[in-house]
């Protein structure tokens, strides 16, 4: 009988190699230093950037694992955020409620994945756009439940996941929490890619038909990847609601999905951490430019076009080139 275990094991995962562990330690040290020395405004910006990075990670995970481009990930983000606001409003036990919200997001998008399983490319993207706008309109119109365009306050309980509720609403507290969640998700995705299912997902991305003919039900796998990606976006939405203390329909608008996609593209898909880097670059570039000029959209657009043309693989491709130069390897070997 064939041994189906894959060559790859967790030990081979880049995140558990010495270089990966060093990077993780450096990031942890950086976050610790910032919380001790950073100003409130700086910490707040980094806390928001970390939350948005999780959103970009979800879009990048879907693109990297299933080669699917979503224009509608603001929907699971918003469902996570609104779900959190609603469970707090209705007095549902907070931890259980958040878990149920995330499970509901997973279930919803798993079913959606089964229904649209055969769609790829632009058809899938358009469908996610339509779905995202459906939820945007729904939260805007269902005033009795969501307060419509007025938005909803999020009443964070006094204690949540063993921490004081206030911790989730302070810049330093949220920066640490969001960074830990982000790091855990990046590690989890790296480890997933080293599993048999992760390698199978990579096979589906390369040639779904071939994997199907080997006897795998690829539709289930793609649905699970979409649902997992949506749940990660939901986690981002939960953190957003906890930190901001307020949710409104704008967070489910298609332009928010578009921003997340731009972050993922800017970061590139050569590494799991690409969308996170893209989100940080995008977020701080936007903050910096908006201080300089009211026409920051145009400047940001021009920069993004230039970066995309110069480095189509995004920040991850650029990092590989830099790394190859530092280690003296030829550029062509950099991607290996």
């Amino acid at each position: 009988m064939a041994n189906p275990s894959m060559t790859h094991s967790f030990r081979d995962s880049p995140v558990l190699r010495p270089s990966g562990l060093i990077v993780l330690a450096l990031v942890a040290a950086l976050v610790a230093i910032m919380t001790m020395t950073g100003s409130r405004i700086t910490l707040s910006l980094f806390a928001q950037a970390a939350i948005i990075s999780i959103m970009a990670l979800s879009v990048g995970f879907l693109a990297r694992t299933a080669d699917l481009i979503s224009f509608g990930h603001a929907a699971p983000f918003g469902l996570g955020a609104y779900g959190t606001a609603l469970i707090f409003r209705h007095g549902i036990p907070a931890e259980l409620g958040i878990l149920l919200v995330l499970l509901a997001v997973f279930a919803l998008f798993f079913v959606m994945g089964l229904v649209v399983g055969k769609l790829n490319g632009i058809a899938f993207s358009m469908l996610t756009l339509a779905l995202g706008q459906f939820f945007f309109v729904a939260v805007s119109k269902l005033r009795a439940i969501t307060s419509g365009a007025d938005g909803m306050n999020v009443s964070v309980p006094s204690s949540l996941f063993g921490l004081p509720g206030r911790t989730f609403q302070t810049p330093d507290g949220m920066l640490v929490i969001a960074s830990v969640v982000l790091a855990a998700l990046v590690i989890a995705i790296y480890l997933f890619e080293a599993t048999r299912t992760g390698r199978l997902a990579m096979g589906v991305r390369e040639n779904e038909e071939r994997v199907l003919f080997l006897g795998y039900r690829t539709k289930l796998l793609k649905a699970a990847v979409l649902a997992t990606s949506a749940t990660i976006a939901g986690v981002s939405g939960v953190l957003f609601a906890l930190y901001q203390g307020f949710v409104s329909p704008e967070i489910m608008h298609w332009s928010f999905s578009g921003n997340a996609l731009i972050m993922a593209i800017l970061g590139g898909s050569l590494a799991v951490w690409g969308p996170v880097a893209g989100a940080l670059v995008f977020f701080f570039l936007r903050e910096w430019l908006s201080d300089l000029t009211e026409h920051w959209h145009s400047v940001l657009g021009a920069i993004l076009i230039a970066v995309t043309v110069a480095w189509p693989g995004g920040v991850t491709a650029l990092a590989k080139v830099v790394r190859a130069r530092l280690t003296g390897r030829k550029q062509g070997e950099a991607g290996k």
């Binding site: 009988m1 064939a2 041994n3 189906p4 275990s5 894959m6 060559t7 790859h8 048999r196 390698r199 199978l200 990579m202 096979g203 390369e206 040639n207 038909e209 071939r210 994997v211 199907l212 003919f213 080997l214 006897g215 795998y216 039900r217 690829t218």
Partner: protein, 233 residues
Amino acid sequence: MTTPLLELKGVNAFYGSAHVLQGVDLTVLPGERVAVVGRNGVGKTTIVNTLLAIAAMRGGSVHMRGEPLPKLAGHTAAAHGIAVVPQGRMILPNLSIEENLKLGAALRRPGEWTLDRVYSLFPILAERRHTPGTALSGGQQQMLAIGRALMGNPDLMILDEPSEGLAPVIVDEMEKLLRDLAETGVAILLIEQHLRLVLDLAERFYVLSKGRVAETGLMKDVDRESLQARIMH
């Protein structure tokens, strides 16, 4: 009488509204080597595509070991013991050789084919087990495609144009390999235009013409010229 391993009875298959297979009858006995030959566009690959539900079957039936297959779908052929080595090999280029092979063991059907046995059959794959599929030559890719199919422990291996793009010396090696394979009990359905491979390997043949079986017979009763004439008829 031996129960056929695979039997197509009056199969009609379509791509959209195009009626490609028109009442095709075909059998493969356990351990048998059967070839399907014919000009380009007569529907040879459509036989495979029908089994994989790429072409829609709207008439006739498919039986495995005497049992009708009620519903064909992309993932069901492997469960019934049918492995397909497709035209163009279709290996997964960014996965390593070993990962490609292990994906072939999707359903973990019981059998003798293990990773070690495939490696002993193709030592070059063992040497390069961590190499991505993109780095392989055409012949090595074909070995990988066959090895991956064997990992599913199939009863029937269908090879669609396996000699396409390969050097004659590699085709000779492959013929020997497929002959050895058939001796292990794996039946082979060879869809091929390369008549030398067909003549050397197959025991029976079907000539397909315009989506129908024009002729069938034993390979020992024909030579290259007469088989060519039957195809061109």
